[in-house]
């Protein structure tokens, strides 16, 4: 018998799929597991360690065994649970962890070596020799034991993320979730109902119990129609709520297109961040097995799963089944399968008083002690008061009771409580705030109890946020009491599996006990119980019960390990949210970016910015050629560089000057209107932090600049100073970095070039001297700002215009300066020019250096307070004798390597003997040799001395001469002319 009558599948259509290359057919509504079972396939995989044949064990996301690879090529996805894969046309699935074939797996030899593979075998076996671990043992183990294979190719599908808000989130759409959603939606609350299955109903779809005397699915269908008319209710199928985060934030993954072969232009999965004022956890319960010898053969499955396959999917792989149970629920499987024409060989009930609910044999007080069948179950061995017997059957349904799916309720230090009557853990009252468990997740196991519990939970949750929910009419349903005997395993000599995926047996738990790994957290890590992709959903409680029995404590005293997100595996692709490649993070482009592209510029990432690094010309075969040419053009003619990326902050207010005096270690309040001054910021601990310029446009208006890297941080710190430190000051700040395109015009011909674009503005040295600034117009009336500042040491200006005109201004300057030899230069030449001039940049302002070390010690005003002023005077900092120096190779053609440590000649090259380090280096076209900047102990007093730069990382050392940290125009005549 394979496909039965009935079921919730659409028999009017067939769906063709393949498993290990064989073609099968199923129907819409099938899962991969149900379609394979209906096709008589019991063997679906090999186990992780012992390569034991395994079949489907469960009917939902708790499945430990039937893990398959889906798809092929870049879309190959390992470790997919066949039980949750929605069947679709063209689905391609492969079994995992077997070679050469699923039915003949050479590594099944591992099973014979099982005595060596007990708990803790890694720790005991592969300790010696230590070096063998990485080279030999680990690769071997990874090949032999494992799950599916990654495709090793980029994921071709699109993923995205999204944000939802609601009054009530209902997790799970079984009877309790549906009742909760209905109650809340009718009350007018904004409700989200999230269901991991592709169909609403939960266990209602798997059971034959009626609602109001009619099939339960009729009620679900009617409810779905009613839901469509409730705009305040959002039903999300194929959506797993995987975690609870602080303050009512829930993480969920919606599998938007996993059930399609190709998502096309759409997204495959969406990561939702749901902000819910309250939530109802209606996640149902998961059945647990009873451990007995050889209980892992294909065909042995949870009794509730067997019932679900028969009732919902009309699938049963064999003609004859048996059931082993310790509770009433196992009998439902017998009754339901019998009704569908499957033969029931026996129901073995652990309880001595058990009786049949129908026309089948009951072995009361019995136990299953062993099984037969190499690639699939053929018989079970049963022991009871009447002795031992062998019963032939192709499938065995096992029920050891139900564990509420309380995982989410345990995410915030919630600790499940053991209930002796129900023989299960229940959520405690200290779980996530605002999350109310309901239905089977709260131990309400009958359908009637689940329905009323769901409605009550919604009413309670909404009441807490001031929404009154009137009771809705709920259907009549079965209300059978829950009766169970505490039987968790059958003692015996052979292996009895507790955790199927991670191959943890009762023996392994006993070994952990014997080796004193008794606390649950130790038990888990030592045996790997519950550490597979299924996180032990079917295994954990049984494992705890076995440990409790061994230690003589109760299960409640034994306790549980901590549940953490995610509830079921979440792909990294969807967690990434879909932004990949060039869109992995936002990119900022300066205003002249398009123009620079057209010039063939090579770009470099500077933080989020893409900046032109250099502009190679035809014939230049090495980047140095371009950089040398660009730097030389600035020294001899005029160069242009987009410097928009420097942070610009507009500072206004009656106290703007006083405010800046407290931010910068030097004094800016004495700056005259129309002038610019260099400013140095310290951190409050006294170290140098950031530098820039401050331009004063009015008594109460400054524009300050920051380094590119620190723009955002300095702005944040300014807000801190303004709001938290000196809130009484009248000062307003706003960033204008993006508003203005700023172009450096540098070189001896800079003034000549600028004169050609300004609208009658007097650029004469007397009218507009070094460190002057002014508003003006250019190019026929365009508002602009001009700053006479120089980073290169040449006569230089920076001109700012509204950003939209930046590109046109660059093109205009290039056109008007052609006869002057105007040359665009990138960040590389910019760096060469500033090293030649000895200006500090990021490598010198690295957070470990002081103003004095930078040669700016006298800038730190002693007359006023500023951030960092007090701490800059403390002994350790004030006494730091390191000083910025220039460095040149002693030998012709010698190199200067950044990062190298500096030593006195003949000194031992130990860290303790280091006298400093090289911060920046380059080839200087101006000097015609390599040069560098660095910090050297008492460097200001060691001019002319030869030191050794040692580079232990790359090897080698070089002799360098200490020179002043300025290689060009030390008197500063050029920039003042």
């Amino acid at each position: 018998m394979t496909r039965l009558a009935g079921g919730l599948i659409d028999r009017t259509q067939t769906v063709t799929f393949t498993f290990d290359g064989t073609r099968y057919q199923g129907h819409p509504g099938d899962t991969l597991a149900s379609a394979l079972l209906a096709a008589g396939v019991r063997l679906m995989g090999r186990s992780f360690k012992y390569h034991r044949p395994r079949g489907v064990f469960a009917a939902g996301s708790e499945e430990p065994n039937a893990l398959v690879e889906l798809g092929s090529g870049a879309r190959r996805e390992p470790n997919s649970r066949a039980t949750t894969v929605e069947l679709h046309e063209g689905l391609e699935a492969h079994s995992q962890n077997r070679w050469p074939a699923l039915s003949f797996d050479a590594l099944a030899v591992n099973d014979l070596l099982a005595p060596f593979f007990t708990a803790g075998f890694y720790y005991k076996t592969f300790m010696w020799p230590k070096a063998f671990w990485e080279r030999l043992y680990e690769p071997l183990i990874r090949r032999a034991a494992g799950l599916g294979r990654l495709s090793m190719q980029a994921d071709p599908d699109a993923y995205d993320k999204g944000f939802l808000h609601c009054d009530l989130l209902v997790v799970g759409a079984g009877p309790s979730g549906l009742a909760a959603a209905l109650t809340a939606a009718r009350a007018g609350a904004r409700v989200i109902l999230a269901e991991e299955d592709f169909r609403l109903g939960g266990r209602l779809l798997a059971e034959t119990g009626t609602l109001d005397g009619a099939p339960a699915v009729d009620w679900v269908t009617a409810l779905e129609a009613a839901f469509a008319d409730l705009p305040n209710l959002r039903v999300m199928r194929r959506t797993t709520v995987f975690g609870v985060f602080d303050h009512g934030v829930y993480g969920a993954v919606e599998r938007v297109a996993d059930h399609r072969r190709d998502p096309g232009e759409g997204v495959r999965q969406t990561l939702w961040r749901i902000t819910a004022r309250r939530a109802v956890l209606a996640a149902g319960a998961t059945e647990r097995p009873i451990a007995f010898a050889d209980n892992d053969r294909p065909g042995i499955m949870l009794a509730g799963a067997m019932r679900a396959y028969a009732n919902r999917w009309a699938a049963c792989p064999v003609d004859t089944i048996a059931v082993y149970t310790n509770n009433d629920d196992g009998h439902r499987t017998a009754v339901d399968l019998l009704a569908r024409g499957v033969q029931v060989a026996a129901v073995i009930d652990a309880r001595a008083e058990a009786t049949a609910r129908g026309d089948y044999r009951v072995i009361a007080g019995g136990a299953v002690t062993g099984t037969r069948g190499r690639l699939g179950l053929s018989a079970i061995e049963v022991r009871s008061d009447r002795g031992a017997e062998r019963i032939a059957c192709g499938a065995l349904g096992v029920s050891g009771g139900w564990n509420p799916n309380l995982h989410l309720a345990s995410h915030h230090r919630g600790r499940p409580l053991w209930d002796e009557t129900l023989q299960t853990f229940l959520p405690d009252a200290h779980g996530p705030a605002g999350l109310v468990p309901a239905g089977a997740a709260a131990g309400a196991f009958s359908t009637a109890a689940a329905l009323s519990s769901g409605a009550a939970a919604a009413t309670r949750a909404l009441g807490e946020i001031g929404i009154d929910a009137a009771p809705c009419a709920l259907p009549e349903a079965e209300a059978a009491p829950w009766r169970i005997a505490p039987v968790f395993h059958v003692p015996g000599r052979k292996r009895a599996w507790v955790d199927f995926q991670n191959e943890v047996t009762v023996k392994d738990i006993a070994l952990a006990h014997a080796e004193n790994m008794r606390p649950v957290e130790h038990l888990k890590r030592y045996t790997t119980l519950g550490m597979g992709t299924d996180q032990g959903k079917t295994a954990n409680v049984t494992g705890l019960a076995v440990m409790a029995e061994l230690t003589g404590r109760t299960i409640g005293e034994t306790g549980t390990t901590v549940f953490r997100p995610p509830y079921t595996p979440v792909s990294l692709s969807v967690l990434g949210g879909g932004d990949t490649g060039p869109y992995f993070r936002p990119r900022r482009l300066p205003p002249t970016h398009r123009w620079a592209e057209a010039q063939g510029a090579v770009f470099v990432e500077v933080g989020q910015w893409m900046r032109a690094q250099y502009f190679p010309r035809p014939g230049e075969t090495h980047w140095r050629q371009a950089v040398d040419r660009e730097a030389a053009a600035v020294r001899s003619a005029v160069g242009l560089c987009d410097v928009t990326t420097l942070g610009k902050i507009d500072v206004q207010g009656a106290d703007a000057a006083a405010f800046l005096d407290r931010l910068y270690c030097n004094t800016l309040s004495t700056l005259k209107v129309g002038r610019v001054r260099y400013g140095l910021m310290l951190r409050e601990d006294g170290f140098a932090y950031d530098d820039g310029t401050a331009a004063r446009f009015a008594d109460d208006h400054y524009v300050v600049t920051t380094t590119t890297a620190n723009a955002g941080l300095v702005y944040r710190n300014m807000e801190f100073a303004r709001q938290c430190l000196w809130p009484e000051l009248d000062v307003q700040i706003v960033s204008t970095t993006d508003a203005w395109a700023q172009i450096a015009v540098a070189g001896p011909k800079a003034r000549t070039l600028l004169a050609r674009i300004v609208d009658g503005f007097d650029l004469d040295n007397a009218a507009f001297p070094f460190m002057a600034c002014s508003a003006l117009t250019v190019c026929g009336g365009l508002r602009a700002r001009l700053f006479r500042i120089s980073f290169s040491g040449e006569l230089a200006y920076e001109i700012a215009v509204p950003a939209r005109y930046g590109q046109a201004l660059m093109e205009r300057l290039m056109a008007r300066g052609a006869d002057l030899g105007v040359t665009p230069y990138g960040t590389e030449a910019l760096s060469v020019l500033r090293i030649e001039k000895g200006h500090a940049a990021g490598a010198e302002l690295n957070g470990q250096t002081t103003a004095a070390m930078l040669g700016l010690g006298r800038m730190v005003s002693q007359k006023k307070d500023a951030i960092g002023a007090v701490m800059s005077r403390r002994e350790g900092l004030a006494g730091d004798a390191g000083r910025l120096v220039g460095l040149r190779p002693v030998e012709d053609g010698g190199a200067v390597v950044g990062g190298a440590h500096l030593f006195a000649e003949g000194a031992a090259r130990t860290l303790a003997g280091s006298e400093g380090w090289i911060t920046s280096s380059c080839h200087s076209p101006h000097v015609g040799a390599a040069i560098g900047l660095g910090f050297l102990e008492r460097g200001d007093a060691r001019m002319g001395e030869v030191v050794v730069a040692a580079n232990p990382l790359e090897g080698g050392s070089a002799r360098l001469r200490v020179v002043p940290a300025c290689f060009v125009d030390p008197e500063g005549g050029r920039l003042r002319d």
Binding site: D246, H247, D685, R716, F720, C724, P727, E728, D865, V870
Partner: protein, 96 residues
Amino acid sequence: MLIPHPLLGPRDAQEFVCLGDARLIERPDPAAADAEAAFCDYVFLRDNPAGVHRELWFHEHGDRSWLVVTRDTVTHAVLGAELARDVALARVGRAP
């Protein structure tokens, strides 16, 4: 996490940057005789209580307000939030 912004209502913590101990508002008097020692405490020492803590949060992707958020570091419960500017003004005896 949600931060109850005093002007804008509950906002997701992803919009904020957390700086830590709100005592950073209490910058020492630089003119005091023991200024260096006081600054040393101010810069390097922070309370890190298990329980109720007052912290500075900056609404970076928002209105750029610095907030003083009172938060239980054990339960993550947020007990309140105020504009740091108001806290700072009260400290110097000025009305907001």
